[in-house]
């Protein structure tokens, strides 16, 4: 099959973006699904050797080949991106709260093209262009000013960092091929600088702890946009960069400790944030932070990293957040503490919610199989998070709600959990996963019913947990304010005191002095004559010195 689907996606995105927003919503969505379906079908076909390559002359003296070859550079990744795109468009259509849904669908498609472009990158130029373009697209998707602001600040800095390290590699190696990175790691200098800057750029992109302010501000976005951004856009680009440039991490002794600190902090921060936030969207954001922490841990720590398993995990996490969206929409509440009597809502929501939580945990099990400690650590976090949120929603603050009805509901949902679990396990042909799956489900049920972390509900009343923006305040205090103060100080000292009051004032006064002297010379008084004689003597001396003495 050919790679024409890229052009088809491009045109579908363009038309969707430019289409009148309130017309042909349904028909156009069907068309978009057909396009994505065709793209998925194209990728599922065996590789025939055809690829889309063209020489890009963005830098006239350094033309680079732009390659779209999903088969060669991870068709599973492209497959996952397309599936996520389809899911995002689907939820955009059915949520019906987007005024400009056609336009949003167009941007979602564009984003997927650039992520595919990044996946297929064989050189830095293609990777950088894809990363930058995806950032501009996501900037367009964010429809809240505060979120836009923090997003562009963070990602501009991250892009700049990425650009600077790739420029350094290019400067020293003279090559733009990613494949040559391994050679670079053996030969060249500034290794620590490159590795640390790459890690920081990736952390910013994926919204790790201390770099998550932009994502926190997205709590005001609609759930559809939020989930799309959290899982299918910039953070995914972050992990793509890491996957492509992971050779760089091996060149510095600092990269592993920094990486571990980043991952561990994000996991803890995400976990605590998810349990202590009253706002359901903030819970979703913290869950995404925790998810990316786990995913990054997987990328570096699992020797046999499987893109397919990662994508199952990614889609499960996305669906978990979607289940929160469904709860939020059904309950018509943004705050979890305000969801009362939710057990009276349709049972299907409960089932979906439970299934999504279990799927999330099981997909992690599949993904992390092979690293026991990390697997257990991740499972504990995911199960505790999912079960606690479920308990909060379905059991509530009031203990009287822990009634027989809920248990019946949960038992009704068990076969569905099992189906999900089997579907995952069967795909991997690992028989003994049944035992683990059963254990995970039991643990989840136990945690759901016993609700061990109920004491954390007290944090819903504490402003520090709900409203404080400690990272933003820290950045403002430690960076923004000192920079502004230095700038103002320099303005006063350099521009005003030194240049205006000293230099220019001196020149002005010198000119005034000269004018005064010439006035005096040209006056008819005694001082004029004296000055004139002194001037003549000075000229005479100078001429004598230069002409006779020297």
């Amino acid at each position: 099959m050919s790679v024409n689907f890229i052009f088809l996606l491009l045109f579908a995105g363009l038309f969707s973006f430019l289409l009148p927003q309130k017309r042909l919503k349904f028909l156009w969505s069907v068309f978009l699904f057909a396009v994505i379906g065709y793209a998925l079908f194209s990728i599922s076909m065996p590789y025939t050797g055809k690829e889309l390559v063209f020489l890009w002359k963005a830098i006239p003296n350094l033309p680079v080949p732009i390659v779209f070859n999903p088969w060669l550079s991870g068709s599973t990744g492209v497959y996952g991106v397309l599936l996520l795109t389809a899911l995002a468009i689907y939820y955009n259509i059915i949520s019906q709260n987007e005024e400009f849904s056609n336009s949003l669908n167009g941007l979602i498609i564009f984003n997927s093209i650039f992520i595919i472009m990044a996946f297929c990158s064989a050189n830095y130029i293609q990777l950088l262009a894809a990363v930058g373009m995806a950032d501009v697209i996501v900037y367009g998707i964010i429809n809240n000013l505060e979120a836009k602001r923090y997003y562009i600040y963070g990602n501009f800095v991250a892009d700049f960092m990425l650009m600077s390290i790739l420029a350094l590699v290019l400067a020293q190696q003279g090559k733009v091929d990613i494949a040559n990175l391994e050679e670079y790691t053996k030969t060249w200098h500034h290794r620590d600088f490159i590795a640390i800057i790459l890690l920081i750029a990736v952390f910013i992109k994926s919204g790790f702890a201390f770099f998550h302010t932009a994502y926190q501000k997205m709590a005001s976005l609609s759930f559809t946009r939020l989930n799309f951004i959290l899982f299918a856009s910039t953070p995914l680009m972050g992990i793509t960069i890491l996957l492509l440039l992971n050779n760089i991490l091996n060149i510095s002794k600092f990269s592993y400790p920094i990486f571990v600190i980043g991952v561990f902090t994000s996991l803890c921060w995400g976990f605590i944030g998810c349990l202590t936030s009253d706002d359901i969207k903030r819970k979703a954001i913290y869950n995404a932070m925790m998810f990316w922490g786990l995913a990054f841990a997987g990328v570096v720590m699992f020797p046999d990293f499987s893109m397919r398993k990662f994508l199952v995990f990614l889609i499960s996490a996305f669906l978990f957040n979607v289940s929160l969206q469904i709860v939020c929409k059904s309950a018509e509440q943004k705050r979890i503490s305000q969801i009362y009597n939710f057990y009276k809502f349709p049972q299907i929501i409960f089932v979906i919610n439970m299934a999504a939580s279990c799927l999330y945990a099981l997909s992690w099990l599949v993904f992390s199989y092979g690293n026991l400690y990390l697997c257990i650590y991740g499972l504990v976090l995911i199960l505790l998070t999912g079960a606690t949120i479920a308990s909060e929603i379905y059991l509530g603050i009031d203990k009287t709600r822990q009634n027989q009805r809920l248990i019946t509901l949960m038992l009704m949902a068990l076969p569905i959990f099992a189906t999900f679990a089997i579907s995952i396990i069967k795909n991997d042909n690992i028989v003994h996963f049944y035992v683990y799956a059963a254990a995970i489900l039991s643990a989840f049920v136990l945690l759901f019913l016993t609700w061990p972390l109920r004491f954390l509900q007290k944090t819903y009343q504490i402003n520090f947990f709900q409203k404080s923006d400690i990272i933003n305040a820290t950045y403002t205090t430690l960076i923004a304010i000192p920079v502004q103060t230095i700038g103002r100080g320099l303005r006063v000292a350099v521009d005003f005191i030194f240049l205006e009051r000293t230099l220019i004032a001196s020149i002005k006064n010198s000119i005034r002095c000269c004018i005064f002297i010439f006035k005096v010379i040209h006056s008819s008084g005694i001082w004029g004559k004296i000055f004139f004689i002194i001037l003549g003597a000075a000229v005479f001396t100078a001429v004598y010195y230069n002409g006779v003495v020297r």
């Binding site: 950032d135 650009m163 920079v483």
Partner: protein
């Protein structure tokens, strides 16, 4: 007496002066429609852009040397011969200057204060800067280097704000210093005949004299570049101009200094300049950081633009001072996009200023209800800071790669200044877009930019985006 000629070159040089003459004799009637003289300016600029495009089409090689040369003999004793020439780099700059001034003309379409004076001096400036960028011998180079100050001096004097007397004073002092230095240096060099700039390094001068000559040339060009302490007069001018066209023209002044250094130094100058280069690099980086820091803390958008311009100009200057000429084309493509972006930002800001003054609106949040203006300004600022929307994005990467190859620490400081000045622009964009609660009711009063201007801005965006995909699309 005209020797070897090129028709494109001659047309490019003459059309702006012809436009000046036509503008001078066109009818000005402030009580009625004043667009007559402006139409002359726009028409002339568009025609010259077409000639520049034709010239580009006839170039075969992007990295080649001078593509066109025209010699005009004037005097036999002393032998004075004007040599004009163009390569891709100078043509790119000329095209960018024309686009910027065209945008400036659109920005002043509703200006009723002395439109004829504005257009005549702008056209005169366009003519002198075009000829300056085409000059290849010392004599014409010096003539046009100084000649372009006259229209700018008049424009600042007529269209500057209440602080214009002070500003003109600084303008005079700094440029006089530069002019005297360049005059002295070129007189010494001119004794070696009318030297072609490319062969300037071959002039036979004693070591001490060389030291003086190059030092003087350095000071002359630096007086036009906002390098400390010369940044002060340019920043004063930039912050004192409300007229967008004059602002755009004033913002082009550092380009002339950078271009001068580019033409004189990289590969033609002798080894005697090495101490100057080290000093220049050090002062440049300090200047970048100081101006970026001041720009970040300053609330005036024009100072922020000045700060960003300074950082970019110095970056390109340092790029050209590297001991390689491979980056010159990249610097040309980056400068091309960057000059146009600054001009587009300025005309949008001028529109906002006008709306603010006419309707007594607060600046904060003024963009929140005007979608076209908001979209256009966002695009241009994102392109300016280096997002992949123009040729700045990848060409800057290559310039940074060149700098990093020679000095990592120095480049880190440059990058820091670049990030700071970019963040200050973004900061201002969101300041304009983010309404304060008490201002929400007043925002509806601001008018959006008109549809024709928006279309022009869309075309500019398209030009920039095409220049990102293929910056050399217009080269034959």
């Amino acid at each position: 007496m005209i020797g070897q000629t090129n028709i494109f070159l001659l047309l490019m040089m003459l059309i702006p002066f012809l436009g000046t003459l036509f503008a001078l004799i066109s009818k000005e009637n402030p009580s009625k429609n004043t667009n007559n003289v402006l139409s002359v300016g726009i028409f002339t600029t568009v025609i010259n852009l077409a000639v520049i495009y034709m010239a580009f089409r006839s170039i075969e090689n992007v990295d080649g040397d001078i593509s066109f040369v025209t010699n005009i003999s004037w005097l036999e004793t002393p032998k004075i011969e004007f040599v004009f020439g163009a390569d891709v780099f100078s043509l790119l700059l000329i095209a960018a200057v024309h686009c910027a001034i065209l945008l400036g003309f659109v920005g002043v379409r509703s200006n009723t204060y002395r439109p004829k004076t504005l257009v005549v001096f702008s056209m005169l400036f366009l003519g002198t800067i075009t000829n300056y960028l085409l000059s290849y011998d010392l004599f014409s180079f010096y003539i046009f280097f100084e000649a372009m100050l006259l229209p700018l001096f008049m424009l600042v004097g007529i269209f500057g704000n209440i602080r214009k007397q002070d500003i003109l004073y600084r303008f005079f002092i700094y440029n006089l210093a530069g002019a005297v230095c360049l005059f002295a240096a070129l007189c010494i060099l001119f004794n070696q005949h009318n030297v072609i700039i490319q062969s300037i390094g071959e002039a036979e001068i004693s070591y001490k004299l060389q030291f003086f000559v190059w030092g003087a040339i350095f000071i002359a060009f630096l007086s036009r570049i906002p390098i400390w302490p010369f940044h002060y007069w340019i920043s004063s001018i930039n912050t004192a101009l409300d007229n967008p066209l004059v602002f755009i023209i004033a913002n082009l002044m550092p380009l002339t200094g950078v271009y001068g250094l580019i033409r004189f130094f990289p590969l033609t100058a002798p080894n005697v300049i090495k101490p100057y280069l080290i000093a220049l690099e050090t002062i440049s980086i300090i200047s970048m950081l100081v101006v970026a820091l001041i720009g970040y803390s300053n609330k005036d958008i024009r100072y922020k633009i000045f700060s960003y311009s300074t950082v970019c100009y110095i970056l390109y200057l340092l790029g050209t001072l590297l001991p390689t000429d491979t980056l010159l084309t990249n610097i040309g493509f980056s400068l091309f996009a960057w000059i146009i972006i600054v001009a587009a930002i300025e005309i949008i800001l001028a529109h906002l200023d006008k709306e603010k003054q006419c309707n007594n609106l607060p600046e904060c949040g003024i963009l929140c209800n005007i979608k076209r203006t908001s979209f256009a300004l966002s695009f241009f600022i994102l392109a300016a800071v280096g997002m992949p929307l123009s040729s700045i994005f990848l060409n800057n990467m290559l310039i940074f790669a060149g700098l990093l190859k020679f000095n990592l620490k120095m480049t880190i400081f440059i990058m820091l200044a670049m990030v700071l000045s970019s963040l200050s622009l973004l900061q201002y964009l969101f300041y304009l877009r983010y309404p304060q609660a008490q201002n929400l009711n007043t925002q509806a009063c601001a008018r959006d930019i008109s549809a024709p201007v928006f279309i022009l801005l869309l075309l500019t965006m398209l030009l920039l985006f095409v220049s990102f995909i293929n910056p050399s699309w217009y080269i034959g």
